[in-house]
């Protein structure tokens, strides 16, 4: 299966990159831009497909792919990778995301 992981800085964490991009967008003629937050997007291909795999992926999202002190993550199961022929038969991406538990010391 193929999963997508989106990691975003928590609201309380300063995002100077996002602010710089927001300012650039305003300078380029879009004063309507209120805020930009920049995170990370990862596409991960995994052999196999079951709930046990997904719970292990969640564990790695918390331990490695995100730092729960400063970031939240969302794990989306995108089903079978495109090009394998199965996805084309109408298997829709399913969002099974879960927010990481907030804050504190790990």
């Amino acid at each position: 299966m193929k999963v997508k992981v989106v990691v975003m800085p928590k609201a309380a964490v300063l995002d100077p990159q996002g602010n710089a991009v927001r300012d650039a967008m305003r300078h380029l003629g879009m004063p309507e831009v209120r805020s930009v937050r920049i995170g990370k997007y990862m596409e991960i291909e995994v052999d196999g497909e079951n709930g046990e795999l997904e719970s292990r992926l969640h564990a790695l999202c918390r331990d490695l792919l995100s730092n729960p002190v400063i970031e939240d993550y969302e794990l989306q199961n995108a089903g079978v990778p495109p090009g394998s022929g199965v996805a084309d038969r109408g298997q829709k991406s399913e969002v099974r995301g879960r927010r990481a538990e907030g804050g504190g010391q790990r």
């Binding site: 800085p9 309380a12 490695l64």
Partner: protein
């Protein structure tokens, strides 16, 4: 007395640390490759600066899973002194051995400078002989040294006097202008609640000789040696009494 300097792939201040340690009478530094699994032979552990594993994903995120980190964690739990400078601080935070995290500098710039830091406590095992309020002049060189902790963690850090160093101006005032990276409350270095793990963004290793512009960093290594000597003298006396 023997200090371990951990070498991760991408560490680049390991030699500075060894030079600073070996510059102190009675201390000897030794490299320990990150694939090693024991630190039993060492009295203290140093995690040096650099870019461990390229700092991919987040600074220190991959290094914390190195085999040696299990020994660092278990020895730290047993009370051994652990010092993390710059990237070493980032690794300690990622490993959960210190609270908080280090994120991109507010300026988005890599800062390379000599800064003043004010000592906030007078009972740290890492700053013996330096009274509270004294200034240590130390170099910094980092792109992601902005210390972040949520409100609750910050309160705990302050309540338990875990903040060891704050960025200050030359008169010792904690002002925003003296903050080089946007760290919350000008925090430059913190310890754990048990006070035996110390992480800081500045480089004491690069300030261990007056010819480098400051010898204040050597005070930290010297203090570690004094703490360890005092502790072993105490336990020796306890053995004799028993």
């Amino acid at each position: 007395m023997k200090f371990a300097v951990i070498q991760f792939p991408g560490s680049n201040c390991d030699q500075d640390c060894i030079a600073a340690i070996n510059g102190i009478d009675g201390l000897r530094g030794e490299y320990v490759w990150h694939k090693q699994t024991s630190l039993d032979d060492f009295d203290a552990i140093i995690l040096p600066g650099g870019f461990a594993y390229g700092d991919y994903l987040r600074c220190g995120a991959i290094a914390r899973f190195s085999p040696i980190m299990q020994a660092v964690a278990s020895d730290a739990r047993a009370g051994k002194l652990v010092l993390g400078t710059c990237n070493g601080f980032q690794v300690l935070c990622e490993a959960g051995l210190l609270p908080g995290a280090l994120v991109r500098n507010r300026s988005l710039r890599f800062v390379c400078d000599m800064v003043a830091t004010r000592l906030e406590v007078d009972d740290s095992p890492f700053t013996h002989g330096c009274p509270k309020g004294s200034l240590l002049r130390l170099p910094i060189a980092h792109g992601e040294g902005c210390f972040f902790a949520d409100a609750k963690t910050l309160r705990e850090l302050n309540d338990n006097r875990q903040v060891i160093l704050r960025y200050a101006d030359n008169r010792g005032c904690i002002v925003p202008e003296a903050n080089p990276n946007g760290s919350v409350e000008n925090i430059a270095g913190i310890c754990n609640r048990e006070r035996n793990i110390f992480g800081l963004m500045p480089h004491p290793d690069r300030a261990s000789d007056a010819r480098l512009g400051s010898a204040d960093g050597a005070k930290i290594f010297l203090s570690m040696m004094q703490t360890i000597s005092a502790n072993s003298a105490t336990s020796e006396r306890a053995k004799q009494v028993a």
